[in-house]
């Protein structure tokens, strides 16, 4: 096992063990002593510990995994799951936003439209992709591509991975609110099957701006929240370091979101998180996408739209004359 460079706090015991493992291997080579048994023992221990740690992650720890710099991004999945992805650029009005991209591709032999929030892997790309924070043009391009999909009968697959829409002067002046709001309304009425999957961070309105879909899937360690745990902690607890408590209270994790009915399916991640085995994660996603696409293709358009409307119509819980309703 190679020693990871980037280690999350809760993975430190794992790192200690893998260091030991490296040392043993080195020793075995240098001294020519057969340490296979000892090495195997540590490998088993690492495996068990990884399983143990990752099956008991707190909501805040999952947020860390969702933000892990090695976490697979949208294009990693698209490249593994699709053929002939061709990026289509620009909103036809102002610019090409590289934090929110899209294009045509073939998924299991069928043409689909990909709409994806994409983060950068190295510092240069991170800047080019604005750390995954789309500007108004990104949302407008997304809508353009979704309408294109509607026109030619392609299902839309959206990949959500953003800390949020970009908060900046230009963003406000070019009306990011309008760009998101229009997407919410138009996605609710798009006459083609739509599926979104939260692959990393589901940052509030910036995520929802490509997330009003027939089905919403989420990876096991992804999160989806109305506000970042840090932001919520700063406002309600007057202390940003209370983010772990806020993450718990906001119920941002995949398992919670499934119970709340906001997501339709949680995609399991390989042991140690999706970044530990991208192919494994992608294949689990591919399986789920195919299943949901089959379900949606079986519906006629009116039924599809009515079901979609009702899906969002009843999200939320309130009381009416003493009765709890949704």
């Amino acid at each position: 096992m190679e020693t990871p460079v980037y280690v999350l706090e809760f993975e430190k015991p794992l790192r200690e063990l893998s260091k030991q493992l490296d040392e043993l291997r080195q020793q075995s080579i240098e001294t020519n002593v057969d340490l296979a048994k000892e090495i195997r023992a540590i490998e088993v221990k690492i495996d068990a510990m990884q399983r143990d740690i990752y099956s008991n992650l707190s909501p805040w720890q999952k947020v860390q995994v969702a933000r892990h710099p090695k976490r697979p991004y949208a294009l990693d999945y698209v490249n593994l799951l699709c053929e002939n992805f061709h990026e289509l650029h620009g909103d036809r009005q102002f610019k090409d936003d590289q934090a929110l991209i899209g294009g045509t591709a073939f998924f299991h032999g069928h043409a689909v439209m990909i709409v994806a929030q994409q983060k950068g892997r190295d510092p240069k790309e991170r800047i080019a992709r604005n750390f995954g924070m789309p500007q108004p043009e990104g949302y407008r391009k997304a809508l353009r591509l979704m309408r294109l999909a509607e026109k030619f009968g392609l299902p839309v697959l959206t990949f959500i991975d953003t800390p949020g829409a970009f908060p900046g002067i230009e963003s406000e002046a070019r009306h990011v609110s309008e760009a998101i709001a229009v997407n919410l309304r138009e996605m609710a009425m798009l006459r083609t099957p739509t599926i979104s999957v939260v692959v990393g961070e589901g940052g509030s309105g910036g995520a929802l701006g490509i997330g009003v879909t027939d089905r919403v899937l989420i990876f096991e360690n992804s999160y989806y929240s109305v506000i970042s745990p840090e932001g919520c902690a700063a406002i309600l607890w007057k202390d940003g370091t209370k983010a772990p408590i806020a993450a718990e209270a906001l119920k941002v994790s995949a398992d919670h979101l499934e119970k709340l009915g906001v997501v339709d399916e949680v995609i399991p991640e390989p042991k140690g998180g999706a970044h530990n085995d991208v192919k494994h994660a992608a294949s689990a996603l591919g399986y789920a996408l195919q299943k949901h696409l089959n379900d949606l293709r079986a519906l006629n358009t009116e039924k599809l739209l009515d079901t979609r409307y009702e899906r969002y119509r009843h999200l939320g819980v309130f009381e009416e004359a003493g009765t709890v309703r949704s």
């Binding site: 908060p167 002067i169 309304r185 999200l315 309130f318």
Partner: protein
């Protein structure tokens, strides 16, 4: 995105109405004005035209033909699906908001007539939890939109909100989708939706129904935006220009149709509805006169 309350003040009266007492200071002119005089003038300072916040009930009283407003869905109230506790349990907060505001929720909705034109309306009130949109507020807004569609009448929503109701977590975010989807159906039915943005309209409310108006009006000086000023500063290190995120800024950038004084709103809404709705329905051109 952080849908928090705005953290800077463009007016000195952000959080509360005019303080109790006889007089108040006009933040524009510095003059002392009689509270009674301001209240009688829909909370607009008579000389300077400064717009103090107005409560949902007072707005409704001034807006509609006398006795025409019928409140609906008054029993829709917030629940606590997440069992949310910060410095206090969420249900305790709700009770306090109810007590302090005298309102059952951050939205009051119903139907009424403006110069004889029947409309479905929802009015947000900042006094209740900063107008934050949770499931109950979202439900009332959605019902106002659906009522308009069912009765084939126009819909008007007055926004005043810091954004999403964090204590309802992801459900508060989903109200953006719920309200916007309902507006999609209203648009398909070719019924007008007029959005009136009042001080302040921020975050998830701006990024959903409030910005989807066929016509978008704003009150003078209203703070309107997506991200709070602090979030923008922290993220971008940008210095915010003077007047940033005010109604005037939005008008200049082409993001809203008009800034309308509260004193002119009733007549302006009539004129717009005559043109967009009444004239169209009767098949005769609007005359501009009722």
């Amino acid at each position: 995105m952080h849908f928090d309350k705005p953290t800077y003040t463009v007016r000195k009266t952000r959080k509360k109405d005019i303080p109790k007492g006889l007089y108040t200071k006009d933040p524009v002119t510095g003059d002392i004005v009689f509270n009674k005089e301001v209240e009688d003038n829909q909370m607009v300072a008579p000389k300077s035209g400064h717009h103090f916040p107005i409560g949902a009930r007072a707005r409704i009283a001034h807006l509609f033909d006398e006795g025409s407003f019928v409140e609906t869905d008054a029993k829709v109230k917030s629940s606590d699906p997440l069992k949310f506790v910060d410095s206090q349990p969420y249900p305790d907060r709700i009770k306090r908001y109810e007590r302090d505001s005298g309102l059952p929720e951050a939205v009051i909705n119903g139907t009424g007539k403006i110069h004889g034109i029947e409309i479905s309306v929802a009015v947000m009130d900042f006094k209740f939890c900063g107008g934050a949109m949770g499931a109950a507020a979202g439900e009332k807004l959605t019902r106002a939109i659906e009522t308009a569609a069912a009765k084939k009448i126009p819909c008007i929503i007055f926004s005043a909100s810091g954004g999403a109701r964090m204590q309802e977590g992801i459900y508060s975010l989903m109200q953006m989708a719920k309200t916007s989807a309902a507006l999609g159906r209203l648009a398909q039915a070719k019924l007008p939706f007029i959005s009136v943005l009042t001080h302040p309209t921020m975050g998830g409310v701006t990024a959903s129904f409030a910005t989807l108006g066929d016509v978008i009006l704003a009150e003078p000086g209203a703070l309107i935006g997506f991200a709070g000023a602090r979030v923008i500063k922290d993220t971008t290190k940008q210095t915010l220009p003077a007047g940033f995120q005010t109604a005037e800024f939005l008008l200049k950038h082409g993001l809203i149709d008009q800034i309308v004084s509260r004193l002119d709103l009733r007549d302006r809404l009539r004129d717009l509805l005559l043109a967009l709705h009444v004239g169209r329905k009767d098949g005769v051109p609007a005359t501009g006169k009722n």
